[in-house]
């Protein structure tokens, strides 16, 4: 066991690191509530009397950008993509984990090779595919792309987990005459909860924060997510820091609130999921 002195010395390293990681957020949050003159005069402190909501009122809704529309698009795209990914990939993984033949091995190898494909590489041909299907500039197109792109990761997480579950579970249900579909949804799927939680958190963060795919697939004017929306909105007035801060705070608020209430689940889901994968 380490001595007490050692445990106090560690704060000398850990507190500066925490500050280095938190100060940018502190700057963004306090300055989002200040006027430009106030920001330029003293950027690192705040006086309660001078706080203002003007930056938010001015930049949240403009003729070309509406944060509520952006929230809605992001929520829609993230939730539909994640739900479909979980449904489709958990079933697929059940087949991969329980049936062995050459066709499935080849499919599994093809899936795993998809794990390392950088998204930018397939964007150009993907745009042509989506255009041919009439899905360019639509949320459906982006959702289908998200599913295709994250199938490898999601299957990878689920297959590893299902292989640790005993086959006796499904076999005893089989004797009772249940079909494979019933066995999976009634018996196995509830047992997959740790894997499902991990996958949901990873996928939601990636899809919610995604930038290059929505920028290209949704375009930039008709429809935008939180990320691509603030990118466009800031682009127009690049050095009005007070508006930039307000937009960044608005964009990050949903994740911050979720994190505040679900820290344990976030940390457990992201670390365990990655260590087992």
């Amino acid at each position: 066991m380490r001595n007490e002195r050692g445990s106090n010395i560690r704060h000398i390293f850990l507190i500066p690191l925490s500050l280095l990681l938190l100060i940018p957020f502190y700057i963004a949050v306090i300055n989002a509530f200040k006027t430009r003159e106030d920001i330029l005069a003293n950027p690192f402190s705040m006086s309660i009397g001078n706080l203002t909501l003007d930056n938010f009122l001015r930049s949240a809704v403009t003729p070309s950008f509406n944060i509520f529309k952006a929230y809605w698009t992001s929520i829609l795209i993230t939730s539909v993509s994640v739900v479909l990914l979980i449904l489709l990939c958990s079933m697929m993984s059940f087949v991969f984990a329980r049936v062995q033949n050459r066709f499935l091995s080849i499919c599994y190898l093809l899936l795993l090779s998809g794990l390392m494909i950088p998204p930018q590489v397939i964007l150009i041909p993907l745009v042509k595919v989506l255009a041919k299907l009439g899905l360019m500039f639509t949320p459906q197109g982006l959702i289908l792309y998200n599913i295709g792109f994250y199938v490898p990761f999601t299957v990878f997480i689920f297959v590893g987990f299902i292989r640790t579950l005993s086959r006796e579970l499904d076999e005893s249900a089989k004797i009772d005459g249940a079909s494979q579909l019933t066995i999976f949804w009634r018996i196995l799927f509830p047992l997959l909860r740790p894997a499902t939680a991990s996958a949901v958190i990873f996928l939601s963060l990636w899809i919610w924060n995604d930038f290059v795919n929505p920028v290209i697939i949704l375009g930039s004017t008709k429809s935008y997510t939180v990320t691509t929306g603030i990118f466009q909105a800031v682009g127009q007035y690049s050095t009005n820091w007070e508006d930039v801060f307000a937009l960044v705070v608005l964009a990050s608020a949903p994740i911050f609130v979720l994190y505040l209430f679900m820290q344990k689940q976030f940390i457990a889901g992201l670390t365990e999921g990655s260590l087992k994968g």
Binding site: R10, V95, C107, G114, Q180, F211, A251, Q263
Partner: protein
């Protein structure tokens, strides 16, 4: 397997693999196909170009520079993040309320989008940014964090390190907490000091966390795009363009779809070879150590 099972399995398997096929594999085949033609992406006719796109890309100075910038960011960020990650995880490895607090703080930057975080840093570091205003008020000279070609690459590398270190610390912390304490007791009886304990037990036992963190940093940095788009638009004069940025820029803005496809194929080959060899090496290392 009876007929009903076969049906059920097919039903469970097909939708996912179909979407993967249409939206990931087909684009890859198309990419390779386009790269052998001369298509601008718009006109109805195009002709076979053989390997000419690949030859041109091979001699393309801008692509060479982008490859160098990408490799620089990847190698430096991966190394620094993992060294800091292990060091701080060892410091943090104690139960208690402060540990939970630190862990929550360290984790946070990775949860936000690179775009949001990028804009915060842009407002601090750009020429008219808060830090430079402060430097000027104090009588110093403004620093071109994004205006100087070399400094801009270093700044982007720093921000990549800044955003990922906390996450990697937490990964290593999880790894540390799975090491049985009895291992340490055994060598302490033999009189091993702290450094020897770290070298012979802690570091080898961290192998799975090490594999995961290296792969996470490697794949993330090789596709570096968002920070470049937010902070520099690839500038000054293309100095901060990464290969991912260039593939998108050439493909969508310069209307040289086929040429961009050949750059993308190069990127795919480089990333795949490096990722596969790195993964194989790290997995073998794990097997040897554990």
């Amino acid at each position: 397997m009876n007929k009903n099972d076969r049906w059920a399995y097919t039903l469970m398997f097909s939708p996912g693999i179909l979407i993967y096929f249409c939206f990931l594999l087909v684009p890859i085949f198309l990419l390779v196909y386009y790269s052998f033609y001369n298509w601008d992406g718009i006109s109805p006719s195009y002709s076979f170009a053989g390997l000419s796109n690949y030859v041109e890309a091979f001699h393309d100075k801008a692509f060479g520079r982008a490859l160098f910038v990408t490799m620089f960011i990847t190698v430096v960020a991966t190394l620094v993040v993992n060294i800091l990650g292990i060091a701080f995880a060892v410091l943090l490895n104690k139960k208690g309320r402060m540990t939970n607090f630190y862990r929550s703080v360290f984790f946070f930057p990775l949860l936000l989008s690179t775009v949001s975080v990028g804009f915060i840093w842009k407002s601090i570091l750009s020429y008219n940014g808060l830090l430079n205003n402060l430097i000027e008020q104090l009588g110093g000279e403004r620093i071109e964090f994004f205006g100087d070609p070399n400094l801009a690459v270093l700044t982007i590398t720093f921000l990549a390190i800044w955003q990922s270190t906390g996450f990697v610390i937490v990964i290593y912390l999880a790894g540390l907490q799975s090491i049985p304490l009895s291992l340490y007791e055994a060598v302490r009886i033999d009189g091993a000091n702290r450094w020897q304990q770290f070298k012979h037990i802690t570091f080898p036992m961290l192998a799975p966390a090490f594999t995961m963190s290296i792969i996470f940093m490697f794949t993330g940095s090789m596709r570096e795009y968002d920070r470049v788009a937010v902070l520099t638009y690839g500038g000054p004069a293309g100095a901060t363009e990464t290969i991912a940025y260039q593939v998108v820029k050439v493909g969508f803005n310069a209307n040289r779809l086929s040429y961009s496809a050949s750059l993308a194929v190069y990127m795919l080959i480089i990333v795949s070879i490096l990722a596969v060899s790195l993964t194989v090496y790290l997995r073998r290392r794990e097997e040897k150590l554990l």
